[in-house]
Amino acid sequence: MSDKPATGDIASWTAAETAAAVNRGAISARDVAGAALDRIEALNPTLNAFTDITAERALAEADAVDARLADGEDLPLAGVPYAVKNLFDIEGVTTRAGSKINRENPPATSDATLVSRLSRAGGLLLGGLNMGEYAYDFTGENAHDGNALNPHDPSRMSGGSSGGSGTAAASGMVAVTMGSDTNGSIRVPSSFCGLFGLKPTFGRLSRGGTYPFVASLDHLGPLARSAEDLALVYDVLQGPDPRDPAQAGKPVMPVRSELSKGTSDLRIAVAGGYFRERAMPEALAAVDAIATALGARHEIGIPEAARARAAAYVITTSESSALHLDRLQHRPGDYDPDTRDRFLSGAMVPAAWAVQAQRFRSWFHACMMTLFDNVDILLAPATPCHALPSGTKTITLDGVEMPARSNIGLFTQPISFIGLPVVSVPVWLDGAALPIGVQVIAPPWREDLALRVAAALQDMGAARAPLAPLPDNISHNNN
């Protein structure tokens, strides 16, 4: 598939296809950048993925890539258009982190570490992407910048908090986006927008030069339209960085060459108990479809998953609110109302609650490591439902009405709580108008296993991420 001619619709190309075409000279990086800018100009006014468009930078990077290729270099991401959640520092751009308050800051003086690595590998940065304020969100909605909309149905949420990251990749504005995931913020928009999303092991990738949400739980990772693209980008992103004190001292472990190894040697099970409750039928049907495709017949109960989710909730609200305390005291009116009230209550959490939650995290980690003695991969829903209509405030699951914003991530939260690597794979059920994601969960530091499974599922057609159709107003204008 890497030899696709350069005459097709560039927006539909994966990162791997683009890099192959640019490296062999079938198309210039300059032309790829121009096509991405045209696509963003056409789609962004409707879908609202980008908050900052770095056109000059993308074109300059494209020229630099073309020059390096002319000098005989071969670049892993040659001419690949990408964009980053707007909590990543972009030199010369103010890092707004989805907020009104932070846009008063001066422009960043250097790139986030991962942005530097993507650009060095030949990537073209098209800009910063919309997100839920300060990442405290699962909807992709933002009172200051407007909502990032779902390209598969613009009346619906993109999912958050990396909402623009979902919107931009699924609509083909760029091939790859970067997001952050504290409790599910890569996996939720991957599910709602029908993308492959990788949340690596906690401590694997540097967070240097990104705005924090909950330092104890923050992860960064890519979203894309193929499993191969996740691996391609992940291999570029790995490596030590003194800017992130929580980064683990693990050696670089390239995964792209592992993708073709298949799944026959892996013990794969469906996560039971908590992960089979409080879900709409489509969430369970998607897991069952993936399990069937993989021949996974066993279900394993995850002990104390509800408590793990509760502990993640307590750590998130208390730690993030401490970060924001001064701003909450002096200018609470400048927050998005949907995050402000959560931050304010988080500033009132007794210390013992948060410390006990961190102690429970140690217990749950030890418990889950025992479970991984008997299984290599766990399957669980990424979200309890398809993308919700924009503005939805509550959802009813198993007859219980609950706030949507905090509960869309109820299946992702217990997993990131102990930092397990996950690939969210997109499933299109028969007759469904919307995708939904399934979490492919691996033991710590085994991103390779989750990516192998994702690649196998894509190869067999059980998981797929088709480009979203053009929104009605745009396709009509083009007719």
């Binding site: 104890s216 104390e304 509800a306 408590r307 989710r309 509760a310 502990a311 909730y313 307590v314 609200t317 305390l325 909450l328 005291q329 609470p332 009116g333 109302p337 402000r340 009230d341 959560r342 304010l344 209550s345 988080g346 500033a347 009132m348 959490v349 007794p350 013992a352 609650w353 410390v355 006990q356 939650a357 961190q358 102690r359 429970f360 995290r361 140690s362 217990w363 980690h365 706030p403 905090s406």
Partner: protein, 66 residues
């Protein structure tokens, strides 16, 4: 009667009133019901965590490395 039976239910409204002053947090009347609702949700989550018995040897997950 167990300890759980005799425990005073968490009063989110009173907690917010007290902590608002302790933490110097200005809360508009219009925001207050949502702040209280969020406090109650956090207390419910914390109760799940707190009721789980943990051996004294279990340390908090983050480990500081000098």
């Amino acid at each position: 009667m167990s300890d759980a039976d005799t425990k005073t239910p968490f009063d989110a409204e009173a907690h917010v009133t007290h902590m608002q002053a302790v933490m110097n947090l200005p809360i508009d009347d219009a925001w207050r019901p949502e702040v209280v609702a969020n406090m109650a949700a956090t207390a419910a989550a914390a109760a799940l965590v707190l009721e789980f018995p943990l051996d004294d040897e279990i340390e908090p997950a983050p480990v500081f490395v000098p």
